[in-house]
Symmetry: C2
Subunit: 112 residues, 2 copies
Amino acid sequence: MVVDTLSPDEVDRLFQALADGTRRDILTRALTGEHSVTALAARYEMSFAAVQKHVAVLERASLIAKARHGREQLVRANPAAIERARALLQSYEALWRHRSATMDAILAADRP
Amino acid sequence: MVVDTLSPDEVDRLFQALADGTRRDILTRALTGEHSVTALAARYEMSFAAVQKHVAVLERASLIAKARHGREQLVRANPAAIERARALLQSYEALWRHRSATMDAILAADRP
DNA sequence: CGTATCTACAACCATTTGGTTGCACGTTAC
DNA sequence: GTAACGTGCAACCAAATGGTTGTAGATACG
C-alpha cells in the first residue's frame, strides 16, 4: 500500500526493465516457476549471453533474484517489485482523480 | 477486458516512456492540469526542443494528447493509458498468485 | 583424472536515446 | 505589416542499449 521511498533511479530501472518484450517474457516464466539461466536462454532465438544480459537488467531492477544451486543459477521473480511499480501507477491515477497537488508519492520519488 | 489487446510494441512504448524522470514529471503535471509545451519546458533546465521530444515520447505512448488552441499546443494526460499499464502489472501479480495457489495445492496433496 | 556444462564477463558493433543548435512556419500582438 | 511567440523538425553528438563472439572459472559426471 505505501509506496515506499523508491529513488528516481530505481523507478527508471523498473520501467526500463519492463520496456522489452523478451524481458517481460522472462519475467513471466520466472513468476510461474524457477528456471536456470540456460533453461531460460533455450527458449529464445538469441544467444545465451544476450539472455544473460536481459536477466541482469531484470536483476538490477529487483524484478528477479538469482540463487545458486550447484553450478546452476536459479532465477525467481520478486513480486514485491512488480507491486511497487503497480502502486506507483495507481498513485498516478489517484493524482488524476483528485487533480489537486497534495497527493504525491511519485513526486516524493522524483524529487528527493 | 482488462488486459485488452495491447501489442508488445505498445507495451514497450508505454514502459519506455515511463522510464525517465523528466517524462514522469511532465506526466504528473499533465495529470493535474493542462499546460502548453513552452509552459512545461520553462520548468526544466534543458532546452525547449529536449522537452518537446519528451512530450513526443509520451504522446507516442498514448500517455498524453495534445490539443491545438490558437498557437499553443495544450498537453493533457490520458489516464486510460496509465490504467492499461497498471492492469498489465496486476496481471503479472495474478500469475504469481496462481502459481502460489498451485504450489499450495501440490503441498497439500503431498501431505498425508 | 579429464571432459562436458553452466555461468560470467570482456570486446566489439549497429541502433537508439537524450541532449544540443539552428531554421522554418503559422499565429498573435502591436 | 512587422515583430514576437509557440511549435515542429532537421542535423549533429555522446552515451546507452541490444545484440554478437570469444574466453575463462566453477561445478558435475564418467
